[in-house]
């Protein structure tokens, strides 16, 4: 699994295509619902890609990223609720600062352990955060969530908000992509593959793990705060372990070893969930079997499989075993 950026040209094409594709949604859509769907795709896509910096790239399987997703959302939600929608945009910034601080402090605790213990510790903190938000009814609205979160001024127009969202998400993805292919990104992948060796290059493994933990959490937080403006309401679900689970599923489904894998995974997940959900009450059976099939048939994830299929078609020799 490599993460080599393609030639400039191809990368440029990729970005223009993707941005155009999403930019055209408001023009081509036949109903604002499709806009809503596309917005959900963008937010989850960003969340999943950010998460994959942690797992696919650095090999740290966190089961608690929902903590930061929820934190971002609730900063926006609560500040708008208590201080008025003028605070919407500042709240996004302040929320990210808070996320940075939290992820730094918790990071110091959680990165001390590896493997499944890291996973469990992150899960524990995530659930703790959920339980607190849930219990602190007077302040957070508990299980009722927060409603009427409206962005200020022209952003109240759903289409305007959609483009605002699109710009921020694409910008973040671009930043993450640069990181993934920068020396920092290379170092992270090395940390995953052979931490001992990294130490022997005179580099600190923990330090790098902490950095990527903060980065990933930061963008998870951004995704959350953007979500708040889409449905104008947020809910404690955003902190719940199932939310952390969702991004794991998306990443595996799309492919961990391609930068855009999780993004595609998010698209697939949301589309499947929506179509099947609308079609039958037995969605959980259908979706379960569907994903189960994909996991067993496409071990490299949707994008990964496409990539290797292409490879095999291009030069038969290149068929590698993994």
């Amino acid at each position: 699994m490599t993460m080599k950026p393609g030639p400039k040209f191809s990368a440029a094409v990729l970005w223009t295509l993707m941005i155009m594709g999403f930019a055209l949604v408001p023009v081509l859509m036949s109903s604002s619902y499709q806009l809503n769907l596309a917005s959900h795709v963008l937010v989850w896509g960003l969340f999943a890609v950010a998460f994959n910096m942690l797992w696919g790239v650095t090999g740290m399987l966190s089961f608690g990223q929902a903590l930061y997703y929820g934190l971002g959302a609730y900063f926006v939600g609560l500040m708008v609720e208590y201080l008025g929608s003028a605070w919407y945009l500042p709240a996004i910034g302040i929320g990210m600062l808070a996320v940075a601080a939290t992820s730094f402090l918790l990071g110091l605790l959680v990165i001390r352990v590896g493997g499944v213990y890291f996973t469990m510790l992150t899960l524990a903190f995530g659930q703790l955060a959920w339980q607190i938000t849930f219990k602190w009814y007077d302040f957070t609205g508990g299980d009722d969530g927060i409603q009427g979160i409206t962005a200020p001024g022209f952003l109240q127009n759903p289409i305007a908000y959609y483009y605002f969202l699109l710009v921020l998400v694409m910008l973040s993805m671009w930043i993450l992509k640069r990181m993934a292919y920068s020396p920092f990104g290379l170092m992270l992948r090395c940390v995953r593959q052979n931490p001992e060796r990294v130490r022997f290059l005179g580099r600190r493994v923990r330090r790098n793990q902490l950095r990527v933990y903060i980065v990933s959490s930061l963008f998870a937080g951004l995704a959350g705060s953007l979500m708040a403006g889409i449905d104008n309401s947020i809910h404690t679900d955003m902190f719940f372990w199932t939310t952390s689970g969702e991004v794991i599923l998306m990443s595996v489904l799309g492919g961990l070893n391609q930068f855009f894998g999780p993004f595609v995974g998010a698209i697939a997940m949301i589309i499947i969930e929506d179509i099947v959900g609308a079609w039958t009450e037995y969605w959980s059976l259908i979706i379960g079997s569907l994903i189960m099939g994909m996991v067993i048939l496409f071990p490299k994830g949707l994008v990964g499989e496409l990539y290797h299929l292409k490879l095999r078609m291009m030069q038969p020799k290149a068929g590698r075993s993994e």
């Binding site: 020396p183 920092f184 290379l186 090395c190 290059l201 005179g202």
Partner: protein, 249 residues
């Protein structure tokens, strides 16, 4: 002229088992020397203590006159020790070039750069290529490390170690598991590198052609203790060594 590396009665034991028993010797700058001994003689354990992966129970390990006992591998590396491992320790999913390059970037302290793509770091790239050329791996630069032949992986491992411009380089069985031709090539290569990089080189080896072919000094370990030390000829004619080791080798 004072030693590059000096061990003073280094002792290490796991429970009742003494894996290193008061080993003392000095490695002079620019010297190329071999450590030999039967399996389980504690050769690799000794390396691990020198590079800080293990702590000796007693004794001192002086690197350029500085005691390094108790320091972390990172620290010790920073003071000029390089090491290649018995089983090549690489980044299997990265390209050969990137394997070396990540080392170059570490050396240049550029691993925190998160904006410009790896390609953009010319200095590191050039350095990496020159090293790959010295190793004769340049043609394979774009293959993934895990795709390389066993021998080439070990070379790559050495390459990574070389990037950090060590004065002292420790090689753990550089030719283990190689075909005769590969060994031939590796032997030449190591000698070349030793000259080209003005290294002080210590290697563990079972292949006697290599030991007696290029080492200026040979040290024999047995059951964790230093059995003998001397020029290849002295060792060849050393009764104990012959009976203890070479005889049955």
């Amino acid at each position: 002229m004072n030693a590059m590396l000096e061990l003073e009665s280094v002792h290490k034991s796991f429970g009742g088992l003494h894996v290193t028993q008061n080993v003392s010797f000095a490695v002079m700058p620019g010297e190329i020397s071999a450590i030999i001994g039967p399996n389980g003689a504690g050769k690799t354990t000794l390396f691990n203590q020198i590079t800080g992966h293990l702590q000796p129970n007693s004794g001192r390990i002086l690197l350029k006159g500085q005691d390094v006992v108790g320091q972390s591998p990172q620290k010790i590396v920073a003071q000029g020790i390089g090491r290649a491992f018995q089983i090549a320790s690489l980044f299997p999913d990265e390209t050969v070039l990137d394997n070396v390059k990540v080392a170059c970037l570490s050396k240049l302290d550029q691993t925190r750069r998160f904006w410009r793509p790896v390609q953009a770091f010319r200095q590191a790239t050039d350095r990496a290529y020159s090293i790959l050329e010295d190793l004769g791996l340049e043609k394979q630069a774009d293959r993934l490390a895990f795709e390389l032949a066993h021998g080439d992986q070990k070379l790559l491992d050495i390459g990574i170690a070389l990037v950090l411009e060590p004065q002292l380089l420790l090689l753990d069985e550089p030719t283990a598991g190689m075909s005769p031709e590969e060994r031939q090539r590796t032997r030449e290569l190591i000698k070349k590198l030793w000259k080209a990089y003005e290294l002080t080189l210590v290697f563990i080896e079972h292949d006697m052609d290599m030991v007696f072919g290029i080492a200026e000094k040979v040290r024999v370990l047995q059951l964790g203790a230093l059995l003998a030390e001397g020029t290849p000829d002295e060792i060849r004619n050393n009764k104990e060594v012959v009976t203890a080791y070479l005889g049955e080798a």
